[in-house]
Amino acid sequence: MIDSAAQTPTIGWFKRFKQSVSRSNLIYLAIAWLVIVLVTAIFAHFIVPMDYQEIHLLNRLLPPASVSEQGFHLLGTDHLGRDITSRIIMALQLSILVAALGTVIGAIIGVSIGFISAHFGGWVDDIVMVFVDFQASMPFVIIALAVLAVTGTGNLLLFILLVGFQGWEKYARITRGLSLAALNHGYAESVRLMGGSTFRVYLKHILPNIFAALIIQMSINFPETIILETSLSFLGVGIQPPNTSLGNILSYGRDYLLNAWWIAITPGAVIFVTALSMSIVGDWLRDELDPVTKQNKH
């Protein structure tokens, strides 16, 4: 009998590499990761192995996979002896919550402004577009810093609202452009002629038609919001203790790079993989939902 292994053609590492970079594989991995993140974030309180705020100074800076009297520390402990696994799970919950709320807030603000701009036109439209252009060119971090300098840090609701504003101008631009196109199409006009109110025209007829474009924009906005929130938290002006964000953990991990580098690595890797997965899913969504790219796919 012939050895079966000899019959299968041996694929070189190079060819295997070429095959594995095809996007179909990545999209499954990305979706799987996002599901894990979402489940962890939703059920954080049930999954978390121990109290994430409990301080044990005797167990400071334990390396990953060590055991103390509190239990098993998969990712070690931080400078106050708190379990990093638990902290990351709780931080993930808050970071995802902020990013999700932030994305929705940005979409609502942007879409409303876009509708107003398209509906009134004229000088209203001009003024809105000046704001949109300015926002598009101004780094949002700078505006966030200006607001945080005045309001102070530590107000979680205000912070979520602030982070939410990021990207409003992109929603506004998309909504305005597509609404103008929709208004020209005639179906909006016919609803109005049949006696539909302005609100009805925009919310029931135009909104569903531009929904695909908004979903795509949300998938782009979501990772940007995660990175904005974690950056601000990393800089110490975002989420404040006792709450914790992935950016906070990374920030204090930075002080222990010499003797406990793993503290900074894990939260950073979680942010990176989550943002990357969302971008990959976003790309895929764009190809699937956007009728223009679907027709002449490059």
Partner: protein
């Protein structure tokens, strides 16, 4: 010549400038009395009143607004309450270090992003294209604070090749520049790719190939100049990204630039320095956008000659 285009762009820049200054003024004055915010709660009301007179906060709001404009034109934007120095001086002395970091990163970003994007477009749907695009998406999903820390762990702590902080030596630039440029290079590569792909589908490119023009000449002299126009737009946006990113990068590498000053001023609520810094960033961005508009004007004959949207696709 299309003078109207230039006039329109300059008007818009001035309008935006007025908007920004007004916006900053409103944020700083209307959201609360800066003296009350800054001083401890148990300060003597008389001292608060003295401070308000010294800062001109007892005047009517429109007079304060005018004073504000006078201050901007005379380069006086208040003093830091930490050391009493002029806020403008404190920012200006740090600009050279920030420029050194951002300009180097900008060049690095273009040097990597543009060729990668062009190459990816030419080799589209091959493994080369997919690898470059995967790297590009990874690049802009990688938060720069994490990239910076990874670099420090690898090159400063494990290999001990590069300094983790400061800006004194020339190789101090290496890690901050990689940290700052990677995301932008990824964005540019992606954008260049799609804009080159779009041009490749045009009839004039097929015509050039049909005339027997060698392919490298088609790319260099036909495709790239036409693909440059949308790329300039994204390059304009990248300046903003660089300024935003420099704040994080300077913090990670203890780089003595404007970004780090801005963060410490926000934390200390040193409002004079914060507003000066933000205003300077805004002015830079307005100027950069104006330059981008002029670049269109120089590159795109359709704008220069003022013809209506002619598109020979």
């Amino acid at each position: 010549m299309n003078a109207r285009y230039i006039f329109q762009k300059i008007t818009r820049a001035i309008l935006t400038l007025i908007l920004v200054v007004t916006f900053i003024f409103i944020i700083l004055r209307v959201t609360g009395d800066p003296v009350v915010t800054m001083l401890p709660d148990d300060t003597d009301p008389e001292i608060i009143e003295q401070m308000r007179i010294a800062w001109g906060l007892n005047k009517p709001i429109w007079e304060q607004y005018l004073d504000y404009w006078v201050g901007i034109f005379s380069g006086d934007l208040g003093h830091s309450f930490l050391d009493g120095r002029s806020a403008v001086d404190k920012i200006v002395e740090r600009i050279p270090e920030t420029l050194r970091l951002t300009v180097t990163s900008f060049m690095f970003m273009l040097l990597i992003g543009v060729p990668a994007g062009v190459f990816s477009a030419i080799k589209r749907n091959t493994w080369i294209d997919r690898t470059i695009m995967t790297l590009s998406v990874s690049g802009f999903s990688l938060p720069n604070f994490f990239l910076g820390i990874l670099l420090i762990i690898i090159f400063s702590i494990w290999l001990r090749w590069l300094p983790s902080a400061g800006s004194e030596r020339s190789w101090s630039l290496v890690m901050p520049v990689i940290t700052l440029a990677t995301a932008g290079a990824g964005v540019i590569a992606r954008f260049v790719r799609s804009s080159v792909l779009e041009v490749l589908g045009k009839q004039y490119v097929r015509a050039a190939i049909a005339r027997g023009m060698p392919s490298h000449r088609v790319i260099l002299f036909v495709v790239l100049p036409n693909a440059a126009i949308p790329v300039i737009t994204i390059v304009g946006f990248m300046i903003g990204t660089l300024i935003g990113g420099s704040i994080v990068t300077e913090t990670i590498f203890s780089w003595p630039g404007v970004g780090r000053l801005l963060i410490s001023s926000v934390t200390a609520r040193d409002l004079a320095v914060v507003q000066t810094g933000i205003m300077m960033v805004a002015f830079t961005m307005i100027l950069a956008n104006l330059l981008v508009d002029f670049a269109y004007f120089l590159i795109d004959p359709r704008i220069r000659l003022g013809s209506s949207k002619g598109d020979n696709s």
